[in-house]
Symmetry: D2
Subunit: 277 residues, 4 copies
């Protein structure tokens, strides 16, 4: 790895000039784990472990970046990085790396304390969350991506069957580019309110009766799920753009049903297209 | 890697003697993919792609094994290995490696053509299958491991709710040490017959009505699932020992319900214990 | 799942009109496995197993799509789908689903028979390949994505050390949107020619000497890797747009070094940006 | 799920008697995540996130276990479980579940603060750790499993090549059944001392020179790695039994080299055998 850190006696290979005339969109480190601290809506602070991807833009005339500086940024923060200082960590990174653009993706499990719907018994539910920060042309954009596991119950199965209806766990994933502060809890709520039923860590029997009947009363196709979540995301003015996906791990098949809606409110007439290449 | 293959001019490091007095239980290659051909019960031959682990025992006085010979065995078989010649591939391996014991694990997706229960429309269902062969003290043992995805429907949820019942996809995994030939299809059938309902690739609406009602009529706890499969495995005289597990990806929680039964019929009074160390 | 297949007596829920005014960008099935057949450059045909994602666009005024038709398309092709008929499978899908846009991602392991550099001994190397087809506004675009595992050797480590140099396995991933036919083998070659050294399934000792010295003679930073591959992709006129990534699983760290270059030759001045939302 | 928790008005299905005459070796919950706190050797306390599997033995005459009680045990501990109270959590579980045997597997990322070998700069290294507790016949056994990533450098490649040697990241996994307290740090040290070189999160250029030369001076086959670690584990009297594995992600192949040694010092003459069935 081209870690070259000011030791004068050693050749500093990555500082050589480069003549291939090819800038590098992103260069850095990937899949490095670090403990972090995240503030939660209840006023507390959650300790969790994050996996980081940290990249900068490299102009065509530089041979390499300074890999060790990315790791230094993580290690100089006393092992703790909060959501409040995510932009400042981004700014520090592009400054330390002398870069004009930079990107950080920080993926971590996050817990919400939920009360069961009837008994009120409390337990933690876990969610996969990713903060995605980008600085381009000096402008910072923040995207929060959350995977919310829910119950989906099939309207067709309910309608055509004399009794019962197939249901299953589904993953609803929201990526929201925000222009103001939103709690993770707020985005999770927008999703869980649209599901056939939300999930809980701990349910007593009266709770299990409740969630069973609630899902049956509230059937949703995968299409309904993404539309109803999209409608909620459209209304939230702190969200500039979003992608909502639902993957239903069908209990009657060995494959998933899937749907996706995306919209950039700042470019409302744009036709959606695949971004691969 | 210590590939040293008869080139006289080069030092053959792994043939040196070793003085640490420690035999190696298993040494070889892991996670190498190769196309294979497997005969199926319908009389055809299935082309699939397998991932292989291939190991031998190494006595304390040998420094290393011959890694490249494992790969040669895969590549000299014209890219095709059938279930019929699995033992002979094992025998070839221990001979080529001059080993007294050897192990091969071959994991691959396998397809069964199923007819939907009402419409009769046909489609493929995929299963993860692993053949596990061992030669120890000259004796060959064969274990087939199959992950069978099924529907499970909760009896408690059905009983306590006015309508509906939570259900979900479950993975029932059977590892069966056999003393005679059994088709993959035979073991899959033993599992699917015990499930709340089996899965299909393709279902028309009358089929969807059928599987919904069948699962509701046939609720199973995770405990019932492993017991009913175990009872079927107990009866099959070609099976000497088995482990049956069920993991239910609960549609009302973000974790799984899980159960396991294991039995070695050739050591019937043995107390089960963790095998980690 | 909303499988509704022309059975008049049953309500066809997903054909109801929808009033939420939200079109769905992609809806369909995800992670369904099916055997396929792919022609290779040597003139043969390779049997492999693919995982498919199949989606269509759904206008705002339709409640749901016809999930079972996706599965029918896979099952009516006699279990075999070749690269030659990928576009026709796409056309068939959008017609059967009465959709204006459609997307198929087909991911599969692919094998290339390689000769070791000195001994000439032959063995298979496996590559992860994804065909990504899209039909939008009647226009078909095809993207091939290939993960090519290679050796990378660090120039800095070589330069500053009295002997040795750290090296490791790296994954170079190319996504190429093509305007004409390219063999998988052709794209793999463009990558392997740029690596410190390419990988082989089987190496004899003289081969191992060769690849060790070749990597040492040919050190590459992660930045060099993506630049050198990008330069090759720029020259290939059958490629309209590309993304090239390299992830080096550093042998001296527990994280990866990573770099990415992307370019759309049909929009040459476009500034690259994150596509999340 | 059969959560039945003392609500008299509701049928308690899993308390029914069972007549199939089949005991269940393990039944409970799998893959539930929870924040935990683990004491470390430096005197501090580490916050991390664990994934739990929690099982009990179920006699043949009971229909089901009480799934919700497992989750209650996690949630009544104020979100924190330390290594010191792991046995007491085990004892609480078997008591609450009225079981004679019980098993908990708790898997979590753990961090060790390391100083780079020359510059002394500090950074965190992450390790995957699993605590495996079992109570059988009233007796508690504790196994610690740790995946230690290291550098391995091939002796054959070094010997036959004029310069350089292939090296790569390897995972050395130790499962140690202990009869007394050992720090995670102690077991990690036994592994890292045997590797061609240990890994670091952060290395300056003089450190990179050091680790490059150290690995070249200290070549190890996969066989050497497991033997040298096994020799260290044999000497540690607090370890009753162990499995040591090494998987080398070969930089010159697309597959791994692998070796395993296992020994139960309390049954020294036992012949190793596959535990599958």
């Amino acid at each position: 790895m081209n870690d070259c850190c000011g030791v004068a006696a050693m050749p500093d290979v990555q500082n050589y000039a480069d003549t291939r005339q090819l800038a590098i969109n992103k260069v850095g480190i990937k899949s490095i784990r670090h403990p972090v601290r995240v503030a939660d809506k209840s006023g507390g602070v959650q300790h969790t472990v994050a996996s980081f991807n940290m990249y900068v833009y490299l102009p065509h005339n530089f041979k390499g970046t300074h890999m060790s500086r990315f790791v230094e940024i993580l290690n100089t923060r006393e092992r703790e990085i909060s959501v409040e200082n995510f932009e400042s960590m981004m700014r520090q990174m592009v400054e330390r790396l002398e870069a004009e653009s930079g990107y950080i993706e920080m993926n971590f499990p996050y817990f919400i304390n939920k009360a069961a719907p009837v008994s009120g018994v409390q337990s933690l539910m876990d969610y996969d969350v990713t903060f995605i920060g980008a600085i381009e042309n000096g402008r910072y954009t923040h995207t929060t991506k959350i995977v919310v596991p829910v119950t989906s119950l099939c309207p067709c199965s309910k309608k055509i069957s004399d009794y019962g209806a197939h249901n299953q766990r589904s993953h609803v994933t929201v990526s929201a580019r925000t222009n103001g502060f939103l709690w993770i809890e707020d985005i999770v709520r927008m999703v869980e309110d649209q599901a056939s039923c939300e999930l809980y860590g701990l349910l007593k029997r009266p709770d299990e009766k409740y969630v069973t009947e609630r899902a049956y009363d509230n059937p949703k196709f995968v299409e309904d799920m993404v539309r109803d979540v999209a409608a909620a995301l459209e209304k939230e003015t702190k969200i500039d753009a979003y992608v909502v996906e639902s993957e239903n791990f069908e209990s009657i098949h060995n494959h998933s049903a899937y749907a996706l809606i995306e919209n950039d409110k700042t470019h409302p007439t744009q036709i959606s297209s695949e971004g691969t290449a």
